[in-house]
Amino acid sequence: MTYTYATNKSSRDLVSYQSVRGAETKAIFETIQEGTSISGIKDNFVKPVEDSSDRNVDHVLQFLEATDFIERPSERTVQPIENQPFENLPFELRLLHHLSRQENPQDHFIRITEVVADADVALYDKEDLLEDVKRQLGSYPFDWTKEKIKMWYDMLAPLGLVSVRDNQEILTSPSPAIVYDLLDEYETREGDRRVRHALDWVEEHFFACYTSRGGVPTVHRGLSDTIGTLVADGVLELRSPSDATHEVDVPSTKADRVSSFTLNDRPARPAYQYPLEAHEIEVKA
């Protein structure tokens, strides 16, 4: 299935949508159907008070358009771009995929995950991340700032790619839900359970996984911890058969190098939900 780019979309840098966060981006996208009027969206989402501002909602729509989720058939309406790859997956994963499809210079957003993977730390100080991004992604036609870094994690933390600890450090582990769903999707699509192939596939379509790629690639610390969590929870089993060739080093698991995986049933527990859904069980059915 080919990926479709929205036509005439804004070329504003994705990290410049500083008021846009993951929570409302997902919420707003989920209300959009064919022919949805922009004014209707605003009616629903703009806080209806005298001094209300619809700027936020406008920015979310722009961001969704810039990431090829929606297009504007007319000035007054929006509609989803149909038949995009991975439509069956949750919005969280689709956004990561769409980000990974952006061409230079809009690829800057997903490339921050490469910087995170390179750093290979569980907790990433925000200022360190900014410095590393400036160094490694310095070729883009804009200056990196802490506001841009904040926009990045405000978008992706609610979606589960990272968590923000105490407003100080970024926990670089993706949510167990992300890892489970991606491994599951890979197995379903490809009928294959080789860890190396699955993670290569995640790198290609979603986000960076490896901190080193030469020889036996090593999974970065945050992702490795999540994989370790799935293993400790009995949700994921990793094996390293003696004849394994395509091995991966997952430092957080007791087996040093692994080659194949088996997914067991997905637990219903909150930790296996995406962050925006994790608390849903709070509300009475």
Binding site: P48, A122, A232
Partner: protein, 1015 residues
Amino acid sequence: MSSQQQQTYDTTGWTESVVKDYLTATSQQKDDPEKFYDTHLDVDKIYAEFLGGTYQDDFVSQEDLRDELLSGGVDDDIRTYILRGETGSGKSQLCQWLDYELQGIGNAENVDERVPLHIKASETSLEQIITTIAEPLEIDPEVDQVTELNAGELADGIVASIRANPGPKLKDIELNRLLSPKEGDLGSILEKNIENYQKGLMEDDETDFDPNLISRDDYRDLRLKLGTDSVFHENADVLRQALRDEIHRHFSHLIGVDDFQGQLRDYTKRMVEEQNQRPVIICEDVTTFSVLKEQLLDQIIQVESATYDIVLGYTTGFEQDDLQDALGSRGSEEPLTYLKDRAEGYLSLTDDGEAYFLDDAISVELVRKYLDVIKRESGVGVSEELESAFDSLYPFNRAFIRRVYQNLQENGDPRRTPRVLLQKVVRRCLLSDDPPYEVVEKSTNVADIVPAVNPAAYDDLTEQVATWYGVEDESSDRIKVNQGVLDAFGVRHTSVQTVDREDGTYSLFESNEMAQQILIETGETTGTDTPGGDSGGSDTGKTTGKDPDDPETETTGQQPTGQNSTERKDLDRKQRQMKDFYKWVRTGDDYESSEKLRGGAEDILELWHEPTRLANPNATTPGANGIYYTKGSSVPVSIQGANERKGLDVMLPFGEDHMELYTEVLGYELNDGFREGANIEQLHSWATENVVGFRQKMRDALETCLPPEMTIEHCFLLGKYLLLNGEFGETAFGREEVFTGIDLDDREYSNPIHTILGRTHPVSEMFTELSHRRSDIEGLIEGFFLLKSSVVDYQKLRDVRTDIANDPGEYLGYAQQIDTGKLDEPTRYEIGSTRSNANVQVSTFLDALSDYAIEVDILDDDDLQSHFDEYLDPVRKWYDPSHTATELADWFDRLEDCLGTFEETKESDWQDVEELLEKEDPQLQLSEFGNRIDDFLDPELDSPFERISVLHSFAQSQENHHAWKVYRVLDEMIDALDEYDVDQSTDLTDRLTELERLNEYESARSEVRAALEEY
């Protein structure tokens, strides 16, 4: 388990009596030079602040000290060598060695000109000291045995002597009251103390007894008995020392020591002169000296010449209090400085509870020496195979001794001394039927250490044996234990890997990496380099920088700093806390330091979440309200079985399944951060689950008060709806109404719930309560239904708002069923924008909502009618749709004329109406008024909300339609004229005509009255 091990554990290699012979406080072998040298471990590391002219701030060996003593001429002036050391640090051992060396039994040469006078710590009674000093001269000093004398008689003798010869310092003091049996009764104190002294002398061990015949406490008691005005009170310090010195002087005299200082000088002089031998007094521990302590010290620091050397041992700490006391005042100098200034050497055996010369490698050799002798003397022998497996240290091995040594303690403080190692640990192990690892696990002299192998993976026996006997395997990061050791203790494991190494076959066990890292990080944060290999379970000393292949490597530090005892205690405490934890997590039993685990859990739960806040979890809305569970200072955490909270909690159940996760939690608390290898996502997931669970409990508790159809979100929106309805008569509930702030300035009239129903009406009273919650409700709506300050959580709001908007009456009914009595701990659920400012109980809000719902539902059409009647009556009476403004103005004028005739005073309202009607266009909007009044005349309303709404319409009409006032004033005017009236008509025109007729009559009458008055 234990029966199996005890069958296997072989204790035939030593006999109890031999063990007791060698391992006692006053070791027998000290009397036997051969045995002594067999067990003596060279004291190779003594810290010398200075020694002779050669050493300054350096470590010296026992030989260095011996050679210093052997240097110099026979008749040189006195030389003093101060030897400090903590109890059991090897002072006695070193002194005994010096004694033998100077006797020529050891390797020393040129000892002919020396005569050692060895005063052992266990032989410090007055007669023993004198006898020791006199011995080389073969003199009988004719001193009585103190223990054979009658304490009472001695005491009486001292009292009598003091009375007769009080000495220079006491001669001018009134002593009668002090000595009198009826007052101070010094005699009784002395008798008791002499008895104690005698008992102390007869003990085998260096037991603790106060060698003073009058202690500080005794003196204090005396002082109190004699009263605050006595001289003993005023000048306490000086007189206590003077009194003590006199008591000791007379005591010495009474038992035959007339002049100790003189005798000492005399005897030593004779040794030099008659025998050409220089006496070397080796005084193991002056601390234990009794009556001669002051006299000896005084002698040493006399400027007068004396010709002997003295090694003056004392227990560290002694200088702080006793020394000053014993030396008395020495001018302006500190006694210690004074003594040091006159000494040739100032040496220390220990620092902070640790013997310098003994490190973990040397401790192994020390134990080896004793074991070899004991086994040889016991004569049975241990099989070579067994010895080989145990590094020839059976029933210990090298790792065992090192680990024990590193964790030696006494009274909870680290104390790494030979005495504690030998007497308190090795001896007990050898005398016990239990295997050594069990003995040390229970021993109070060995600090708790965490298992060296992963406790989640092995049973207790394996864990203990591997912990004490295992070492880290260089090539696998595992813990290796010699197969022979495992066999000896009956440890059987099939699932572990076995490897052959140069020195034998080993089983490899998974190491307790987590605990090691936690404890190493402790060391790193406190700046020490010691714990890793020694106490954390790794024997290779990864963090110590030692060569892992050479177990005999010495510690490298040449500075006498060693490991700071605070850090050591810190580490010991953490090890103990981890041990506590391991025990609890397996059994759920007592858990003394459970606060640590709880603290870690609280911190981690709060790292990524605000666990006690119930609001929209996906929102970033600073300042918006939430509901907080406010009990305690943070999220309540229970440790199952050991430390459980009342009320809501996050429960940490025990069970080995949780061991690894909880170890991280505990480590987070102990090190104030995650250990390097921690899987933080696992903790993050754990925190998420528990926070979601805790909030769910909060919600469940709150919603127990609500009928099943209603959520707390419904309550907030219903509250807002009722407020809008109550303040403005609003009955719609769109999205705007949900968020629009209630601004009472928008209302032109006063709230009719209060003005029309009256302040004391139950609806009015309950509405007042509910409106007090306005800002709470508005804040909660923001907290629950916004995603950020300008973006609505549309999906979340939609259903709840639609529920209320579609049928507010249904939810009003539910609200009446709210029962906050069902809420446990109602004071713990509070509304606020932060936990610290949350101070409005949710139950207060729910009660206000429920109470108002009940009252407003009771309000019916008749109630409303009765309140409207007062306003409606004039209109009912006089209003007719045909009326025009001009007519009303005309009637007003005519009525006013009439009333003027009767001299009725004008009410202010009348004036207002007059002004209104005089306007060219008074804007009475009579037709609109006419249309509205039908709503009020006979209200037939479907719901309480409509009733409140009509109430508002009524109040608004009152405010906007002046016709209400016009008819009321006309009615009042007519009422006033009614006083003078006969007939009555209900038609306003007729009525006016009648009144005008009356007016004519009255005009005539008043004219008559005026004429009469004039007349």
